[in-house]
Structure formats: structure tokens, C-alpha cells
Amino acid sequence: MPSYPSATPAGTLPGSVPQLDVAGELLALLRDSTTEPRPDDQLEALTLAVAADLPVLLWGEPGIGKTAALTQLATALDLPLTTVIASVHEPSDFSGLPVIGDDPAEQGIPMAPPDWAVRLVRAGRGLLFLDELSTAPPAVQAALLRVVLERRIGALTLPPGVRVVAAANPRSSAADGWELSPPLANRFVHLQWTHDHDVVVRGLGGTWPRATPPRLDPAKLPGAVAFARRAVCGLLTARPALVHRLPGSETRRGGAWPSPRSWEATIALIAFATAAGSSREVLSQLVRGTVGDGAGLELLASMDRMDLPDPETLLADPEGAELPERGDLRQAALDGVVAAVRARPDRARWDAAWALLVHALRTGAPDLVVVPATTLAALRQDDWDVPAAVEQLAGAVALSRTADRAAARAAAGAGR
């Protein structure tokens, strides 16, 4: 008959340390991870939007690391983090619990706020994270949106030092489909939260990324505001239809769309991104999350053109001109110069444009020069001699002839 060690307490083997202590040791080892600096566009976009005091809505599948990101953000902004899981609360937790006093008819019924709200207001600063917005019942969501948009909880008003971020699951994976109505969607900066495969694998291996938060440069502030206003106003002047456009199709429902309100938010975000020296990737996430993909991409495309060198500067110093490296931008710059000559044609400007084309041919792909050169040649007036510089464009002319000959061959082949 086997004998069991009955004298030792449960969970402990004779002569060894208690099992829970060993487990604790193992847990400590598992939690032991290091961090490494790594640029993180998502987190930078989130930080800038929160710094700009705009309501942010993170869209992401459950378990993707939204909460971890918020923890990082709180550290970066040095704010205490308060997380509220929306789906386990009732509307009265956000709109306030009615407390009946001695004479309700005389004194009214005050709406008492929950303890976390009182603590937040008392602290005067903090990061309020409203998680699982999409799994809460509609009435809770309605109460929560008041918190996000009006910053009121019961009778309390959140102080300006408190920033609010909400998170939701995408419509396709939400257990019960909740979606934002267009007016609500318009007030948020929508950020898509995705995981980076490499980061996750490396993190599970023991090294998580540590994002360095963007720093606003005080010297850049006035320029950033001017730039942001110029970018948005420039686009909206040329494209008045973009000022206000309700989302039409089912696919775009619940997302960002352009309106005067969201354009105003866009100006703020461009200014913040510019002052922080953020990359175009970050700006792209912010802009598309505020006015939607269509209008956002148009804005980014028009900002690309704002970055092109000014045609008049190029004409003033064609030899020392710095042209963009990227082919499509370089051709856009050259086209701009030819258009400037066409707008105000005179001999000196025409010659300068030829010199610029020669310069472009020397420093980049020759096929980009062909179309601007053809257009420029057509601008010649009778008393203008062909400048000597044109000789140097022979390469581009030969290239164009090769293409012509191939086209003729292809046409002959097709006619056979």
C-alpha cells in the first residue's frame, strides 16, 4: 500500500520552498523584459491628437494592444491613467446618479458623479480611457459620448488638463453592431490600431519598443499655424465640394468625413504635426482619420505640391536649382516652371527655363524632360532665337525619337 506524505502542508514538498514562491519567481522571470527605442507612427499620431485636445477614437480588434499603447501614452505625457470599461457600466454612472435630498421640488435632484470622476477632477489632470465603447448598450454609449464631447460627468466638468481617449472594435467584429452616427463620427479623430508583426514577435521575445514621444518645438509654432492654414485653405479654395460631404455608402458609414468642424480639427493636427516635426506617415494617419480617406488624400496630395520648389525661384537661378529626386514630383516641378513661363512670357524667362531643363537633364532621368521641353518649344515667339542650351537637350530628343519610332513600329504591326 503506498504511503502519502500527510504531514506536509498542501502544495509543499518536504524540504523545499513553498510552491507559490517558486511560481512567483517564474512569473518575475516572465515579466522581465527590456525596451528599445523604436519610432512608432501610430503612437506618435495618437500622442499628437491627444496633445491637440481632440477626442480620439481608436479602432482595433480586441487584444491588439490598445490598452498597452494608452499606458505608454500616459507615461509619455506624464499623466495618471484612468481606465473605464464602458460595457460594465450603466448610463447613470456617466450622467450621474440621482440623489434625493430633503426637498426635491425646492432644491432639485443633483446627479452624483462616480468616484473616479471625482478623483480626476480633484487631480486636475489625467488621461481618461473609455475602453470597449462598442460593446456597451446604446444608452450607455449615448451617456459616454457626452463625457467625450462635452466633458461632463453628472454635475462635474472635467478640467482642461484631462484628456479623453475612447476605443472601439471595428464594425465587422463587434459582437452587437454599434456604429457612430455621422454627426458623432465627425467629432472624433479616428485612428486605426493595428499590430506590427515584427514588434509583437520581438516583444514576446522579451524586448518591447519604447516610443519617444514627439516634442513640440516652441520656435516652430507660428510657422506651423500659418502652414496648416495655408494647406487646408489652399485645397478648399480649389475644391469647394470638399468643405462638407456626408458619407454616402454603407462601407464608409461610421467613419471620418469632411465638414467645417473636421477641417478645423485638421488645421490643428497639421499645426501640431508640423511643430513636432512629424513625418508624412504620421500626418497621413491624422488627416485621413479626421476628414476621411478621400478628402485626406486630396489634402496630402496638394501638400505634396506645396512642397514643390516655387517656379519663380527655379527660374531665378536655374543652374543652382534643387529639383525633387522623385520622378513624378520632378516632372510636376518642371511643368510648373513651363506653366509660369506661359503665364508671363518674355525672352529672359524662356531662356532661363531652357537652362533649367538642361540642368534637369544632367541631374536626373531624361524622359522627364521631354514633355516640358516640347511645351516650352511651342511657346517660342518669332523674334526669339533658339538658345544654345537646346543643343544639350539632344539626349532627351533622341529618347523621344526612339519612342516615336517604336510607336510607329507598333502601329505598323497592329495594321498588319
Partner: protein, 423 residues
């Protein structure tokens, strides 16, 4: 490639010839100019012909450039830029559910499928099809489909043996090549720049009617708003209609809250669940196919059960010119879908709304070749629309140009049966 090898092919890359071909391609396809000029050419001896990576670099073999005529090279340029514009690397990764999830053979299959999607419509009209370009017909497949559709239809085998050399690079199938310069290499485009270029091209195509083939127009329309899988969309529309306030779960003062005891004297609302009633109106006119109806109906039954509608709360009406009676879903797995003539959905709506108690949500499955009610019905309406590119059934021989009315603005419309691959 079939072109004869001319001269000494061991030299450096003939960049002028390559760029002349690009100029040719731009002249033949002006709407692709931005994309073609944004590609950065790189000479590489390890590339079999020409290949692209996902950072918009175009690798060209000096030997290949040397022995290929300019007009064929132009075709290759357009072919390669099409891989990038149509996001074939991203779609391959999504198909494989992640980068590197499949071996070289599967990636070759993706490359072939992507080539099939491109080659059947980009050539012609001033642009030569390069010799050796694979067409869907070569694999016994029909033209005009998407890469994802082709992928389901063929395997590597004797038919594709001669294509084993085919390699359009990581831009086509998502698998890194050893010649790739990587994200940090010279002159790569960042994700935002790539989006901007694709956007400019799409805008050029949609902004100028008459440019581009039908496929390119479709690409341009969907480039930044890919059609979502209709099952998800229909589910979301139905769930949101069924769980919005007034239906389903919400707060009610009809019964006291469990917290009422803590706040004496105050009346707090309690959470109550009222399962939504869903009535499905099925267009059984001759223009709607049985398989379409079957799949959509199954989907709706599953969704409405998932949102808490008991089966007896889901009713189905089959409707052609006259509406049938409401069949509760619980009575029969197979609902008799009678009909087959023309459609008048107005009678279907009337029948659905006449039921007592009335439905919370009306779901209409139709091809849209029907008159719609003038006024918004007093409940939420979801329309599952079977897309019809040309009015077939609603065609009126007295008025061949008649186009049926689109679904009204008050209904939420989900197109059913659009490709789920996503571009």
C-alpha cells in the same frame, strides 16, 4: 521572351532605351504617368527580366533590356506598375494571411494569378503585349477576374511549367527577393507616398471620363474604398438596425433597476431585453437567381438569431408582383419562394408592415428592378441588393433606355455578391 538577342549583351544597363520605353508607355497611357514616373529604375543582374518591389523600385536586367524592343519594354513597364497600383503584394499577403506564410511555389502561383488579372486588359490600344505574357486563357481560365478568383481556380502543374521563370518581384507577390533594396534603400517610396501616387492616378482616371479601360475605371473607383465582404456589411447593418434604441436591448422604466434599493426615492431605469422582430421581404421575380437568394436568406437567418431574435420573430415574405403571406422562419427550413413574374416591392412592404405586432426591421433582398415605396416605412430598413451591371429583367421594350430607380436614401443598402477579395 521571343525577341532575338542582338549584339553584345554583357554591357551595362541601357538606361536610355529603358526610359524611352517609359516615355512610350506614358504616351500610350497618360493616366498612368504619375505612377510610371514615380518608379525608380535600378539595374540588377539577378532579375530574370524586370521586377518591382513594394517600395516602388523597378529592377531591370541589362540583358533583358538590351534584347527586348522598346515597344515590348513599354508593355512591361505598364505591367509592372500595374502590380503596384493594384496592390498585388498587399493582397497576396492578405491571401496568405501574412508575409512569408507560404513558400516560393505558392508565391509563384500568386504571381501568375496577378499577371492574369493584369494581362487580360492592360494591353492593346497602342500598347504591345510583350511576348510570353501569361493570359488567363493559357491556363484555361476566363478573362476579367481578380487575382483572388484566379488563385482559387488553378494549381501549379504541367500547364504552368513554362511559367516557372516568371518573377515580377516582391511588388507582385509579397515575398522578399535577395535583390530587393529594402525599405531603407535608395529612392524608395514610403507608405504615404505610395498611397498618394495611387490616389493621383485614381483621380486622373475618375476625373476624366473616357480615359482608361473598364478594368482601370473599376480599379480607380475601388482603390481607396475597397468593397467590404458583403456578409460583414449585411451583418453590421442588420445588427445595428436590430439593436438600435427602440429595439432589442435598452433601458426602460417599465421595471425598477437593481440599484434602486441603494437610492431610496429615486426611480432608476433597468436594462431590459426585447428581441427584435425581423421581416425579410424576398424578391422572387424571375430576375433573381435561386442560389443568390438561398445564400442571402441563410445569412439573414443566422444573423438575426445571433442578435437575439428568436426564430419565431423572423418572418419571410416572398414577393413578386403580389406579396405572399408572412412565413415564420421556424415553421419550415425551406420557405416556399413562389413567384417568378415582375416585381412590385411596394406590396411586399405593405404586407410586412401590416403584420401585428409590426416588425422592428425589414430586410429586403432584391436586384432593385422594382418600384420603391414613396415614403419611409415606420421601421428600419436594410436592402440587400444583388448588383446588376445592366438592367436585364427590368428592360422595357417600349423604352429601352429606362433605368430602374435606385434604392431610396432612407434604406441602408448593402451590395450582395461583390467580390470579397478586396482591392
Amino acid at each position: 521572351m521571343t525577341a532575338p538577342v542582338t549584339g553584345d549583351a554583357a554591357g551595362a544597363l541601357d538606361l536610355d532605351k529603358l526610359l524611352a520605353a517609359r516615355l512610350y508607355a506614358v504616351r500610350a497611357r497618360p493616366y498612368l504617368a504619375t505612377a510610371l514616373f514615380a518608379l525608380h529604375p535600378v539595374a540588377s543582374r539577378r532579375v530574370p527580366t524586370m521586377a518591382v518591389d513594394r517600395h516602388w523600385r523597378c529592377y531591370a536586367s541589362p540583358l533583358f533590356v538590351d534584347r527586348t524592343p522598346v515597344e515590348d519594354l513599354a508593355g512591361v513597364w505598364v505591367h509592372e506598375v500595374s502590380h503596384l497600383l493594384r496592390d498585388h503584394h498587399g493582397r497576396s499577403d492578405r491571401y496568405a494571411r501574412g508575409p512569408g506564410a507560404f513558400g516560393p511555389a505558392e508565391r509563384l502561383r500568386m504571381n501568375i494569378a496577378a499577371d492574369c488579372e493584369i494581362n487580360d486588359d492592360v494591353f492593346g490600344d497602342g500598347l504591345e503585349r510583350p511576348g510570353g505574357a501569361v493570359l488567363p486563357g493559357d491556363l484555361g481560365l476566363g478573362p476579367g477576374e481578380l487575382m483572388e478568383d484566379y488563385l482559387r481556380q488553378f494549381r501549379l502543374g504541367p500547364v504552368t511549367e513554362h511559367l516557372a521563370w516568371l518573377d515580377c518581384g516582391s511588388g507582385a507577390d509579397g515575398a522578399e527577393r535577395d535583390w530587393d533594396l529594402g525599405p531603407d534603400g535608395a529612392h524608395g517610396l514610403s507608405a504615404q507616398e505610395r498611397d498618394a501616387v495611387r490616389f493621383r492616378v485614381a483621380q486622373g482616371i475618375t476625373g476624366r471620363p473616357g480615359t482608361g479601360s473598364r478594368q482601370w475605371r473599376r480599379w480607380a473607383e475601388e482603390a481607396f474604398h475597397p468593397p467590404q465582404p458583403w456578409r460583414d456589411l449585411l451583418g453590421a447593418a442588420l445588427r445595428s438596425a436590430a439593436s438600435a434604441s427602440g429595439a432589442g436591448e435598452d433601458y426602460t422604466y417599465g421595471r425598477p433597476s437593481r440599484r434602486s434599493a441603494a437610492v431610496p426615492g429615486a426611480v432608476l431605469p433597468a436594462l431590459r431585453r426585447r428581441p427584435p422582430r425581423v421581416t425579410v421581404v424576398v424578391d422572387t421575380s424571375a430576375s433573381v437567381g435561386d442560389t443568390e437568394l438561398g445564400s442571402a436568406l441563410l445569412e439573414i437567418a443566422a444573423i438575426s438569431r445571433a442578435v437575439g431574435g428568436r426564430r419565431d420573430l423572423v418572418g419571410v415574405i416572398s414577393c413578386d408582383a403580389a406579396a405572399g403571406v408572412v412565413h415564420p422562419l421556424c415553421r419550415a427550413e425551406g420557405i416556399p419562394l413562389t413567384g417568378g413574374g415582375g416585381t412590385d416591392l411596394r406590396s411586399g412592404f405593405a404586407r410586412a408592415l401590416a403584420a401585428r405586432p409590426g416588425p422592428d426591421v425589414v430586410v429586403v433582398l432584391t436586384d432593385g428592378q422594382t418600384p420603391w415605396p414613396d415614403r419611409r416605412p415606420p421601421c428600419r430598413t436594410v436592402v440587400g441588393l444583388f448588383p446588376r451591371p445592366y438592367p436585364v429583367a427590368g428592360w422595357d421594350e417600349d423604352d429601352p433606355d429606362a433605368v430602374p430607380d435606385p434604392p431610396p436614401a432612407w434604406a441602408r443598402v448593402v451590395e450582395i455578391g461583390t467580390p470579397s477579395g478586396g482591392r
